[in-house]
Amino acid sequence: MIYSILNYLDRKGLIERASAHCDIPCGIYDPGPALIAAVSVVRLMDIAHDGASEDPVALANLRARCTLRKEEEAEKVKQEVRVIWGDYFKAPLLEAHPNVHALVHAIMQKASACKQDVHREDGLALVELVNEFAEIFWRTKSIETARKTCPYPPQLKLVYPVLDD
């Protein structure tokens, strides 16, 4: 309530600002790309399983493409999460969220499992792990999150930040 009132006054330009400077340009970190990549892994598994072409060559082509893209998207999950974990999370944040190391390790392992096979449950587990990572990330910025169904297949629940404007 009080925060909302102050936020309103701030938007009207009635509250002065002071900077808690960093000595490097602030990095732009966002777990969104990792989440989209994780959802893409599930989607690619679905397409590979549901391939309906009667032409065996076309079906082989489709599955080869899905496998290739799934490999890339799973690797992207790992890369995006590694960067946030390695560059954004500093000692104070790690102390406040000591489970982040185990969570990131679990993401690495699960993303590898998604590369190795086409088990949908692995893909779903990967999405859930990255959701948890996203929730921790936004919590470090004191930004609320909500789990909403993504507006595209496979329509899974994803963590989105709830932004003021």
């Binding site: 002065e16 600002r17 104070p92």
Partner: protein, 95 residues
Amino acid sequence: MLGWSLIRVTGESMSPMLSSGAFALFKRSAIYRDGDVLLVDHPRFGKIVKRAIDVSADSLWLEGANANSLSRESMGPVQRAHVQGKIVYQIARKT
């Protein structure tokens, strides 16, 4: 206003003690101690929020709360006249 300042903090150098987006109330004081979170009108960086260290009779040094902060050397010693108050209350963004 009467030695009080209501400020919105931007930047993460005081996180997790004081996160970006939080509102903080500062009160001018005659006494500042090591560890106080201060509002400072810095000659080079403008209005900043930092933690006091090595407070002496006429000057003090500043530091952030995490490794991302400007270093104490880059901010240098500041005269006490530049200190506009120490934090007495904060309202963090709801989580």
